[in-house]
Amino acid sequence: MHFAFSEQQTEFRDAVRQVLAKECTTGHLRAAFEHPEARGPRWSTLTELGVVPLTVPEAQGGLGLGLVDLVLVLEEAGQVALPEPLLETTALVAPLLAGLDAGAGTGSLEALAAGRVAAAVAPTSAAQAPVPGADGADLLVLATGTEADGNLELHLVDAASTTVDPVSSLDPTRRLGIPRWTPTPATRVASGPAAARAMAVTADRAATATAAELLGLTGRMITMTAEYARERQQFGKPIGSFQAVKHLLAGAQVRLEFARPVVYGAAWALDNGTRDSSRAASVAKAYASDAATEAARVSLQVHGAIGYTWECDLQLFLKRAWALAEAWGSAADHRARVLDSLVTGS
């Protein structure tokens, strides 16, 4: 039993933090809100740093590492509300491709490791559901059919060969899009049980990775708000000295403190394929979603009207937090999954 990150992992996290502090300021974020793009200069930096290729097998030029190695980096991405699709590309698509039979994903993995690909993956096979990050992505992993009907298929689609209808989100950097595509034998990379397994594992990884970004967003919102509460004066003293404000922020901080180990534990469970890894992923997403939603509510309330303005940086983090809290299953969705697994003992 050793529930802590290795020095190597924390040092890597610190390195990424330093870079993002420079290259992903709120100024950069506002620019990204104006012109969202999948791969800006930051993408190359993150590739050189080894962040983008982190989960790509070494054979395809990656580092062959896992979620435990990635989770702290995703937390940093959340801290700065990184606009690039690191979660989709590195946390989801790379491991998914690496798991395909007969090296179906090899070429894509090499391009991905080289930073030439921003990827997106459809959470469901519902044709009309917008896919996060699809608008502007290079590579799409899409599904058709259903497990129930036994005709589930996964397809690896070159975005250049399809059109994607954008669907705007409260947070434009989400780049939601509905792909207009036709599955062909050439695009199929998995079917039947293999496809179902891949989608299930991807959903668990997505829940955990999204939870990690939510940890970072939550921490950032709380820090910004505590700072504001220390400075903002009303009734002749900082509003942070009022017990009502203290208790709002303390409540949010306690949720964050307890969400962290839950998310880290889920990452470890997924990397090690423990029997309860799916449940752990659901606990992580439920906990992190609620922590973020509460921190968003508290932050806005403590900022007051100023927090409701475009010029206040808080909005950049609120919007991402609201979107990610619902993405890949809401807190309530995952609580239901947790209870189900407890009762059926699965």
């Binding site: 959470p123 559901a129 917008p130 954008p166 669907v167 705007s168 989100s169 409260l170 947070d171 989400r174 939601l176 004066q233 009303q234 009734f235 509003i239 009022f242 009502a244 404000v245 509510r297 806005l300 309330q301 007051g304 009207a305 927090g307 409701y308 303005t309 475009w310 010029e311 909005q315 609120l318 609201w322 979107a323 619902e326 993405a327 809401s330 309530a332 969705d333 239901a336």
Partner: protein
């Protein structure tokens, strides 16, 4: 005489309701067809709608006929509001004037002030904004620094300072604001309530873009803006008590009629019904929250009728206004949270053809616990004035 409890509206009330309903059916533009009232174009479109209402005496039903109203009571006003929201009619661009300033002007205004301002307000020829909050005086309203000094000619005042969070401020013709006329006096004292023509030299307006990109409110800058003596409301140095009357309306009966929430709660139940077919698992998981939100709106409706009866009996609304503000702001949040929970991932889809009334409504609802005095301040009021707990 000893009137028994009766929650039915009288035949006369129902006749009034029928008249309102049929007029609205004939005149209300298609739901959400007007451009946003926070654009120049939308502002004028909403003004035109107010004028249409005014022409048939529906813009200020509870006012005396002399000022363009129908001289009906608070119950008829509540009935009209129910019909107005049921008809999905446009937001009231003149709400600051009609719902906040007017009750104060009826109480504190001179007859000539009432004649001068009220009809123009009713017909939306003059649209008002509120100039109270300042960058450093939000929850702490008594911390106002904007000041007024006697004008050289001694026939009025020169106003200087900065106001903020003025809804409609970008386009309004008039502003009612609080300024410090006695720099010596302590906080609440020494404030005066002014009526300011926004076209007076020295007034500058800077719209403030909101979280959703719209310019919901504005900053107002005053530089030696001349305001004649007859534009003081309620007497020099009386600003605080006059303002508290307006604040009472804001938190109490007049700003937020129950109809607004009953209508939203009705839409929520309908959304639940739809989802129950589409996605029964998600719907049933949200059932408890949907029921609670609907009940909160219903409790607000009943509480308003309870309060209205008391007021009609000569009673007044004191600190209950603070309890009221806490309840309607939390009800609005409860309704929209439940709706977003029903929508699930769809909740974030927004704009560009995707009609997202629930997400927009949620963003607006989030401001509820902040404006009109934060709920933290209201809880202090409830604790101190209703429960007698000592001030800190």
């Amino acid at each position: 005489m000893d009137t028994p409890m009766d929650l039915r509206f009288t035949a006369a009330h129902e006749a009034f309701r029928a008249e309102a309903r049929s007029w609205l059916a004939d005149h209300v533009p298609p739901p959400r067809s007007l451009p946003s009232l926070d654009t120049a174009e939308g502002f004028e479109a909403h003004r035109a709608w107010e004028q249409t209402m005014f022409e048939d005496r529906w813009s200020v039903v509870s006012w005396p006929e002399a000022f363009g109203g129908r001289g009906v009571g608070i119950l008829e006003w509540l009935i009209f509001e129910e019909e107005y929201w049921r008809a999905e009619a446009p937001l009231r661009v003149s709400q600051n004037g009609v719902f906040l300033l007017a009750p104060t002007m009826f109480e504190f205004g001179t007859p000539s002030q009432q004649e001068r301002y009220l009809p123009a307000m009713a017909s939306a020829r003059q649209i008002w904004c509120q100039g109270w909050s300042e960058p450093d005086a939000g929850s702490d309203l008594a911390g106002i620094r904007s000041r007024a000094v006697r004008a050289p000619g001694d026939d009025g005042w020169l106003l200087t300072g900065q106001k903020t969070w003025a809804s409609r401020g970008a386009f309004a013709e008039w502003c009612f604001g609080l300024f410090r006329t006695d720099p010596e006096a302590e906080r609440h004292r020494g404030l005066t309530y002014f009526l300011v023509d926004m076209s007076t030299p020295g007034v500058t307006v800077r719209p403030i873009p909101q979280i959703d990109g719209e310019t919901g409110f504005a900053e107002l800058f005053f530089e030696e803006v001349f305001v004649p003596d007859d534009q003081v409301l309620g007497g020099v140095g009386q600003g605080w008590s006059v303002a508290m009357a307006t604040a009472g309306s804001e938190r109490g009966l007049s700003l937020r009629s129950p109809a607004r929430y009953s209508e939203a709660a009705g839409r929520l139940v309908a959304l639940y019904g739809d989802k129950l077919a589409e996605d029964p698992v998600r719907a049933s998981r949200t059932a408890d929250a949907v029921a609670q939100a609907w009940m909160d709106a219903e409790a607000y409706r009943l509480n308003t009728l309870w309060t209205a009866t008391r007021v009609l009996g000569g009673g007044s609304v004191g600190p209950e206004a603070s309890a009221n503000k806490i309840h309607w702001s939390e009800t609005d949040l409860a309704i929209h949270r439940a709706a977003l929970a029903l929508l699930g991932p769809e909740a974030e889809w927004h704009g560009d053809g995707v009609d997202a009334p629930w997400l927009d409504g949620y963003l607006f609802a989030l401001a509820g616990p902040i404006y009109a005095g934060t709920n933290e301040i209201q809880r202090n009021v409830v604790a101190e004035r209703m429960l007698g707990l000592p001030r800190a």
